[in-house]
Amino acid sequence: MSLPNPFATDLTPGAPLPQSKQVITREMIWRYGEMVEGDRRNPLHYDQGVAVEAGYPDIIAHGTLSLGFVSRSLAQALGAPWLTGSKISAKYIGAVFPGDEITVHGVLRERVTEEPTTRLVFEYWCQNQHGQKVIVGKATVLTQAE
């Protein structure tokens, strides 16, 4: 299933995705943990003592929480095509902690037209306030000419 998207129509490789920022809070990690883990909570995500003992400065945010911010950026930029006929990969290369400000960046790397659809491949990454990448991945979206 592919849908038209006005933003995607004129995009050429090298075009950036609009950046978006998100400050990670302890409450956010807690609430997300309840949804993700139920009664099987991983102490690294809620117990600061366990996290410090494991060598981290604080509790760690779930990787898939940040993936939600990436999805938010893609939905904003691409609209309905992001919700259907799309694909995302993610590699978690750094931990995210409470207080971190995560910025989602993205660039269109590939545009392949296979009538009647166009496949757009974005490279994205999330980085913290120190400029360190914490997630890298690709997102692929199918769009249709209007």
Binding site: M1, L3, Q22, M28, R31, Y32, M35, V36, E37, G38, D39, R40, R41, N42, P43, L44, V50, A54, I60, H62, G63, T64, L65, L67, G68, F69, V70, S71, R72, A75, Q76, G79, A80, W82, L83, T84, G85, S86, K87, I88, S89, A90, K91, Y92
Partner: protein, 140 residues
């Protein structure tokens, strides 16, 4: 969580299936997810595009671990390493989603133990709406 109540890396075998679970995409669940990730895009509320309210596709990610852990309770410290998700259909409010999955592989990489598993999300008509492959690193 009791530290002894978990399935060890050595006990997990490729091909093993998860306990099949179902979830209802309730308005409360969708709102709660949108609230946590701060995704207030009106796209999800539009009646025109999909004919109903929908959820951000990454909402499915909250079930990746619940499903896996229901069958393979994790030892403390297991962490998510990577994933790949395909979204075939929108996540429509009110749908009952069945989640099934199996272990694809387990291996050692740079001295760490990894488990790779795959999940499939199908709606009540049997249509697959999403699929995910997830890699987890275990500290054991």
């Amino acid at each position: 969580m009791s530290p002894t109540n978990f399935v060890r890396f050595e006990e997990i075998e490729p091909g093993q299936s998860f306990i099949r679970t179902t979830v209802v995409l309730s308005p409360e669940l969708i709102e709660s997810y949108k609230d946590v990730v701060g995704d207030r895009n009106p796209l999800y509320d539009e009646m025109s595009t999909f004919g109903c309210r929908v959820a951000p596709p990454t909402l499915g990610a909250i079930y990746l671990f619940r499903s896996f852990y229901a069958t393979f309770p994790p030892p403390p410290g297991r962490l998510h390493a990577s994933l790949e998700c395909d979204f075939f259909q929108p996540w429509r409010e009110g749908e009952i989603i069945t989640i099934s999955g199996h272990v694809v592989d387990k291996y050692l990489k740079r001295g760490k133990k990894y488990v790779l598993f795959q999940l499939s999300f199908t709606d009540e008509h049997g249509t697959e709406i999403a699929r995910a492959r997830v890699e987890e690193a275990t500290p054991e």
